[in-house]
Structure formats: C-alpha cells, structure tokens
Amino acid sequence: MTALFTDRPGGRTSVRLRRFAGALGRFLGAVVLTYLGLLAVTFFIGRVIPIDPVLAIVGDRAPEHVIQRVREELGLNLPLWKQFVIYLGKVLQGDFGTSVLSSNPVMQDIRRVFPATLELATLGTVIGAGIGIPLGVWAAVRRGGIADQLVRVMALIGYSVPIFWLGLMALVVFYARLGWVGGPGRIDVVYEYTVTPWSGIMLLDTAIAGEWEAFANALSHLILPASLLGYFSMAYISRMTRSFMLNELAQEYIVTARAKGLSESRIIWRHALRNAAVPLVTVVALSYAGLLEGSVLTETVFAWPGLGLYITNSLQNADMNAVLGGTIVVGSVFIGLNLLSDLLYRTLDPRTRAR
C-alpha cells in the first residue's frame, strides 16, 4: 500500500492521490450496493420460507391472541421496508438470530467453525497457486510441451469432475486402501482435547502448544481435502496463468528485453510474469473464494467441521437462521476478496494508480 502514496518529485502526488481516492470511492460505493443486494436477497429468502416463523415458536394450536402477540414481538406486522431496515441493523451488528439446532447465537457458531474452513481453503489455495502458477508459466513457455498438455487435461478434468465424488474416491484409495493419510475429521479423537483451540487453526494451535505428534496427525487429516481443493484451484490458476503469459510473451516489450540481452529466465519471471501478475491476482482471489464454496461439498465428504458442513447440516434440519447467517458470511468473504484483489491490482499496476 505504501507504494501508492510515496512522494514522487514533481508535485503531482496530490492529483494522483485524489484520482485514486475517487476511483476507490466509486468502487466502495459499488461494494456497499452489492452488499445491500446480498442482504436483500437473504432477507427475501428468509421471507418466502414456507415455514411460518410464528407457528414454529408457538405451535399450531395456540390461541389467536398469542399468535398476534408473537407476530408483534417478531416485528412481522410492520411494513416490509421497516422489517428490512431492522434486519439490516441486526445483521450489521453480527446478529443473525439463534440457531434452532444448537440453541446458540448463529454468530457464535460461525466463529467456532470458520477457522476450520479458513485453514482448508487457505492451504488449498497455497497448493493451487504454488503449483499452478509455475506450471502455467512452463506451459506458456513451452507451447505444446508436456506441461501444456498437462494444463489442458487438468483443466478439462477440473471442470468436469464432481468434487465430492473425487473426494470419496480419494478417501477410498489413500485412506482405506493405502492408509497414507488420516481419515475424515480434523484430528484423531485421542488428540482432540490435548490442545487448546487458541486460533481454531489446528496446525497453528498444535504448533504453538509444541504438540508435534498432534501436529503431524492434524496435517495427515488436512492434506487430502486440501489437496483436493488444491487440485481444482490449480486447474483454474494454471490455465489462466498460461493464457496471461502467452499474451504477455507476445508483447513488444519482451522483444526489447531480449534485445537488451537479458537472460531468458529473467525475461520470463521478471518481465512477463510480473505483468501477468496483475490479472492473476484477481484469478487467485476468485479461486480462493471458489474454494470456500467448494468446501461445502468437500467438508461434507470429509466430515470437516467447518462452515460448509455447518451450512449443510443446518439445511438438512431446516435451521434457516443458521443457513442465512452462513450464506451472508460466505457472501461477505466473497465481496471482501473482490475488494482486496482490486486493491492489489491497483498496487501492482502503475497505470491504474494514476487513473
């Protein structure tokens, strides 16, 4: 971020800053609108549920005046827009109501399960970007070579295979048959209570506690679902990297770099990839967001106690507050990642800093 505001000689900084602030303001406006839209959709979905929330509380044999009183308590007699404003106020304070299933505030439940998803999706993205970007670069540099074919095939499979099925088959092979990895869940039951859930991120907590046996166990549970998500992320990232790199390598500035006598590796990594990184940031952010979504199915397969499993469990038990709360959190993360990738985009590309 600091690079944005460094003072360049010439006194143009204030103009640049103002333009940047203007662009950022417009963008933030769009973010706020999108967020309102998100809440409007969840509000609307909450309103059209066939289950009458009043009857859910009082039962269907309650006398008329009781029903009436509960209606008023829930604010259901107010005009729709007032209900929406109240809803907005609550959501913005992090009040998603109470979960029928756990009888806890939904926010409290989500706080408990979110780190597990974060751990899974983050490791997945690290795997996906860590392998996908070099692979995509390689595919672009040696067009038609092994890496290029690999990227093509992986992308095709990634877009065609059901993630939950691949997860099940991976469990059969790597857990049941080969015994290489830990099975479903985050950690074996024996270790379950040996570490305090300080951050909720298992690898971190076990490492801080110095429980290396538990750490290894947690890693053996994490590696398979994370690799699964990593595969999908890698399929997408490598394909996009390849296409961005092909585009950059065909530019004139690459000819200039060659004419200067730079080494091929410098041309590829410092010139072409540095330019491709500008759109790649968005791709990696999108893929990270996509993994949060993919975690709904993956967590179900691997009994991974994260947000995805929380949402599906709530769904199967018609726990609407929990479902909508989870939806809002995932949507917020999506919007947040969009915001972050836009900021990174602006710092990486000097041309957008001025505009």
Binding site: R8, P9, G10, Q251, E252, Y253, V255, T256, A257, R258, A259, K260, G261, L262, S263, R266, H271, R274, N275, V278, L348, D349, P350, R351, A354
Partner: protein, 278 residues
C-alpha cells in the same frame, strides 16, 4: 574501413499453415563498417525481419539461413544462444518502433535502463544508477532523476523513445539497429529524436542500421541506402546519388515524395512490376 557486419544471402522463412516455408527475407546481402546504412522499403518488405535475424531475435518457428553472417569476425550462425545473448545489448543494440509498447509497463524506466547495463557489466546498483542518470542526460532529458522513477505510461512518446535509445546505448554497443525509431512520433518530436540519435552515433563512432519506410528521412540521415522490395534488396546506392537511382521501384518511391509548391493531380501511384519480386 574495417567490416563490422557481413551479411551474405540471408534468408528468413516462416512456416505457413500447411507446413510449407514462405520466405519473408529472400537472399539479402550487404556489408557494413562504422557507418550509417539506411534500409527502406514498403511495409512487409522484410526490413524488420532482416534486423531481427542479425540480432538473433527471429521467432523460433522460423528458419534462418545465410552464406555468411558475421559480426566483428564472430560467425553468428555458429554462435550458441548464450553467445548471441551476450552480444545483444552489449555489442549490438536495437531501438524499436513504438515506446508505448516496447517498454515494460510495470517497471520504472530507470530500472529498465539499469537492467540493460547490469546484464552485461558487473556494476553495483548505485554505480549503475549513476550511469543510467548520465545516459538519460546524454539523450537530453532535463531532469534525469525525476524521469528515472517514472513509469512508461507517464512519459510522452518522444521521451519514451529517448529512454529507449538510452537503454540501448548504455552498454556502449558497436552497432545500433534502429527499426523505424521515429515512425510512431509526432513530426516535430521526430526531428529532436533523430538529432539526438545522430549526435550519439557520431560521438561514439558506432555503426548504424536505420530502418524506415520514409526514403527522404533515410537519404538525409544515412551514408548509404538499401532499397528492399518483397524480401530482396533491389538497389544499393549512396545517399548522395539517389537522384541517379536505376531501379524503377526506387524511382517510383522518389517520385512519390511531395515537393513544396508543387501541384499534383492525380496523386502518383506506385506501380509495381511482378518482375521485381522474382
């Protein structure tokens, strides 16, 4: 005068969709000392491909052949990729047409110059920066320290091209290939850039290959002119003798040059003879 670059029967061929090779450069020969050679010809006549073949920047799918291609006694056809890379930028430089596209948009121009120097000389960062600033001053940029930190989109076309020249001259090459260095610039800026190029080439005693489609520019700027048509050299002539050009194509190009105060209607059109391309 000693020969710096010797090109005999240079051919560059690209594969088409059916796998047959189509020659873009069809047997170009010339020799060059520390002088200024102009190459003119219409668009697509193979000027750029000739220049790029000398630098070893021909696209990998293309086929390059020549009876002789030597630079300062080095056989370029036998040189390894690493040896050719060591020549590029250090002993042969190239200025491309449009600074808007030929500078890396996400690296500041100063570092692009420093990088060109450090690719060939063991120079510390501070020393390299000093040299780059001096080079920027040499291409008549007023406040080098300020321009050093700018990104390509923040400089004008004329300044961009001066940066490009600074970048290609900083390692002090013996030969500079300038491929339409002013075609993308405004007319007034063209002259400034040309005079800077002119002075630096003279001061440093370099050889220059000046590629252009503008015969008048080439004739006023160079000692000798090659006229290319459809991948071949159709005429080689001293700039001073252009008026006595033999080839019909060269004369055609000359007669297309407008002169002040002359009223011409209809405008002359270059007529082509399929014989020339044989």
């Amino acid at each position: 005068m000693s020969i710096l670059l010797d090109v005999q029967n240079l051919k560059v061929a690209f594969p088409n969709r059916d796998g047959d090779y189509v020659e873009a450069v069809r047997g170009v020969s010339f020799a060059l000392g520390r002088e200024r050679l102009g190459i003119v010809g219409e668009s697509g006549s193979g000027k750029s491909q000739t220049g790029r073949a000398i630098l070893g920047l021909t696209a990998p799918q293309a086929r390059v052949s020549a009876d002789r291609l030597t630079f300062d006694g080095i056989d370029l056809l036998k040189a390894s990729p690493a040896e050719r890379r060591a020549l590029r930028g250090a002993r042969i430089g190239m200025v491309l047409q449009d600074p808007k596209y030929s500078l890396n948009p996400v690296m500041n121009v100063g570092n692009q110059i420093v990088e060109a120097l450090q690719a060939h000389r063991k120079v510390g960062d501070r020393e390299a920066r000093e040299q780059a600033l001096a080079m920027l001053a040499a291409v008549q940029i007023d406040r080098p320290a300020r321009v050093f930190d700018l990104y390509p989109h923040e400089v004008s076309g004329g300044m961009g091209q001066r940066v490009m020249i600074a970048m290609m001259l900083i390692a002090e090459p013996d030969l500079l290939i300038a491929d339409e260095p002013t075609s993308a610039l405004d007319v007034t800026v063209q002259l400034q850039v040309l005079s800077i190029l002119d002075r630096l080439v003279a001061e440093r005693g370099m050889g220059l290959i000046f590629i252009s489609h503008d015969l008048r520019l080439v004739s006023s700027f160079c000692d000798r002119v090659l006229v290319m048509y459809a991948g071949r050299v159709v005429e080689e002539i001293a700039a001073a003798d252009l008026g006595a050009a033999q080839h019909a194509y060269t004369r055609g190009l000359l007669s297309c040059l407008p002169r002040l105060g002359e009223h011409r209607h209809p405008l002359p059109v270059l007529s082509r003879d399929p014989e020339w391309a044989r």
